[in-house]
Amino acid sequence: MNQESRVSNDRRHVVFSLKLSAVLIGASLLLTWARHEGMISKDSVERGIGVLTGLVFAAYGNALPKLIGPAVGTIGEARVAQGLRRFSGWALTVAFLVYAALWAFASRDAAHVGSIAAVAVSGAAVMGYAGWKYLTQRKTEKRETP
């Protein structure tokens, strides 16, 4: 990928992130206004923001595997990076879809605890996977180096 296409790619990712942020902020303001006008309850505002947060971050998790950084040194490093991008993308997308579903359908207490737990578990899974991949790759490189 040449410099020009990399800059254009990076710009696309920034624009995508800004759009997601605008959706989250705009919808939150709309919900707050509706609450102020007495159209919806406080519980509905909280649930609405919870669902929106989950969906926005799930959308970001969906796009995560497409964020390829600068070229790495070896094919082994590229393999680790690719695996990590895919795993973290899936983990975040599923975690935040669970987050959104809990805020949409579960009781308030279950949504509070469950949504944080879902994100924490996915974060721990990604860290664990990254550590395992790194150690496996180091072992492979040591074996291959004469």
Binding site: M1, A63, L64, A71, R86
Partner: protein, 113 residues
């Protein structure tokens, strides 16, 4: 999105993505898995690049292809593989240069153009 559907509709391109799932590979390593000519494989890679499903990067001294597929696109790929979309159609070979698919009798005829 239509370029993604077009890319995933072809079983050869889906197999390329499946191979890249295992690890990044060079064009030569990918082409070795298919009984198609190198220019034909290059045309398939071009369709995948246009759909933003793969990316070519220089790693060491060689150009290597990496998977660049979102979670939703990967789920679509799995769906297309599971239901064999496009695999029942006659073997189609892309003609390099015109980007159009045409039916050929045997993939082994390759590209003598």
């Amino acid at each position: 999105m239509s370029s993604v559907f077009k890319a995933l509709a072809d079983p050869t391109r889906r197999k390329v993505l499946e191979l890249l799932r295992q690890q990044p590979m060079t064009a030569g390593e990918l082409a070795d898995h298919f009984p198609l000519s190198r220019p034909t494989m290059s045309a398939h890679f071009a369709v995948l690049r246009e759909a933003d499903l793969i990316e070519a990067q220089k790693i060491g001294t060689t150009i290597t292809y990496q998977l660049k597929i979102s979670v939703l696109e990967e789920a679509l790929l799995g769906f297309a593989q599971a239901f064999g979309i496009g695999s029942g159609a006659p073997a189609a070979e892309i003609q390099p240069g015109d980007g159009q698919l045409s039916d050929t009798a045997h993939p082994s005829q390759g590209n003598s153009r």
